[in-house]
Symmetry: C2
Subunit: 201 residues, 2 copies
C-alpha cells in the first residue's frame, strides 16, 4: 500500500496486524478495512479489549497460566485436586484441556520444550518451578501432557529424571487413535502406538 | 475457553479478534496469546494503532477512499489527472491499483456491486455521487475497474446507462491472461475473453 493513498495511520495498523499469527500482509489489509467499516461496533471495542488485557492479564508465578490474578484462578481453586499436576508446553494447551474438562488437578506450563536445534535448554523452561512445587511432597501424581513430538518426548524424559526422587507417580497422556478419527487416515506412528497400547475391550 | 481459566478480559479479546476476516476462534486464541507474550512490542502498539486509525481515518466524501483527510490525498493531488475517474468496487481495489501505479487519474469507490440476490440496489451504492462528479463536464474518461463477475458486469452496464449522456468516454479494464499466468491453468471464460480481445503483436 502506498502511504500516499491511505495515510500513515492505516499503514501502521496493517503492519502491526500482519504480525499476528494467521494474518499476512494481504489479510491484515482486509482486517484493517473491515475494522474501519465498523468503527463503533468492532474497532474501538477491540482497541479497548487489547488495552484492558495488556493492563490486567498476568502470568501466574506458580503455574505459568495467564489470568487477571496471580496466583491464577486455577491455582487458587480449592475444589481442584492439588495433588495432581498436569505438565503442558504452552498456555494454549492448558486452555484446550480446560475446555475439554479433562483435568481436575493443577497445571504447570513449561513455556516450550527442550530443543537442541533451537538452543533451548532446561534453564529456558519453567522446570525449576515444577521441581520446586513437587519438592514440598504434597503432589501425588505428575501427568505429562506434552506434544507427541521428538522434542516433547525428550522433555518428558528430562522432567521424569528431575522429579522421580520426590516420590510422586509420573504418568503420560495416552497416545492412540483420536476419538472420531478414521484408521486409514492416521499416520504410521499413531497406528503403531495405538496397537502397542491396546487394552481389553 | 472457560472463563474460569483465563479471565473475562482474554475471553472478550478473543471474541473480538475472531470477528476479523481470516481469524476464526482458534487462530484468535493463538493471536491473543501471541500478543500477551509481547505486551510492549506488539500489544500496546496495536491497541494504540487501532485507536489512532479509528480517530483519524475518514471516508472521503468525494471518492469514497479512506484517508486521514476529507477530501482525501488522491482527490486533492493536483499532479493527478482529474479528467479520468477509475470506478472500483471497494477501497481495497483502489489500494491495489495504487500499489501497481496503474492509474494516474482519480477514483470513485462504489462500495460494492448491484446484487439482486443480496438486495443491493443503485441507492445502496455510491452511484449518485459518481453521476454528480461527472455531470460537471470536466471528466473526459470513466474507467470501469469492477470485478469480472456477473454482479460486477451488471453494475458496469448500469453505470454506463447512467453516465453516457454526459459525454465522457467509458472504458473498461482489459480482461485476459494475467501477466505471469500460464495458459493451461486458466479457466475457459478468461481464455475466451483473451482470444476475443486479441491485438496485433
Amino acid at each position: 500500500m502506498s502511504g500516499h493513498s491511505a495515510g500513515a495511520e492505516i499503514e501502521r495498523l496493517i503492519q502491526l496486524l500482519a504480525r499476528l499469527p494467521g494474518l499476512g500482509p494481504r489479510s491484515a489489509r482486509r482486517a484493517a478495512l473491515q475494522m474501519l467499516g465498523k468503527k463503533e461496533t468492532l474497532m474501538r471495542p477491540l482497541a479497548d479489549a487489547i488495552s484492558q488485557a495488556a493492563d490486567h492479564v498476568l502470568t501466574c508465578s506458580t503455574c505459568g497460566n495467564m489470568d487477571t490474578k496471580d496466583p491464577c484462578s486455577i491455582c487458587t481453586d480449592t475444589r481442584r485436586d492439588a495433588g495432581v499436576i498436569c505438565v503442558v508446553e504452552h498456555v494454549a494447551d492448558l486452555w484446550a484441556l480446560e475446555r475439554a474438562g479433562a483435568n481436575s488437578g493443577q497445571y504447570h506450563v513449561l513455556g516450550g520444550t527442550l530443543s537442541a536445534l533451537d538452543g533451548i535448554g532446561p534453564d529456558d523452561l519453567n522446570i525449576a518451578g515444577l521441581v520446586d512445587r513437587i519438592s514440598g511432597g504434597d503432589v501425588r501424581e505428575i501427568v505429562l501432557a506434552l506434544n507427541a513430538t521428538v522434542d516433547g518426548q525428550a522433555t518428558a524424559h528430562y522432567i521424569t529424571d528431575q522429579v522421580q526422587s520426590y516420590g510422586a507417580s509420573i504418568s503420560q497422556v495416552a497416545h492412540g487413535v483420536p476419538v472420531g478419527g478414521e484408521m486409514d487416515y492416521l499416520d504410521d506412528g499413531t497406528l503403531a502406538a495405538a496397537m502397542k497400547a491396546r487394552r481389553p475391550f
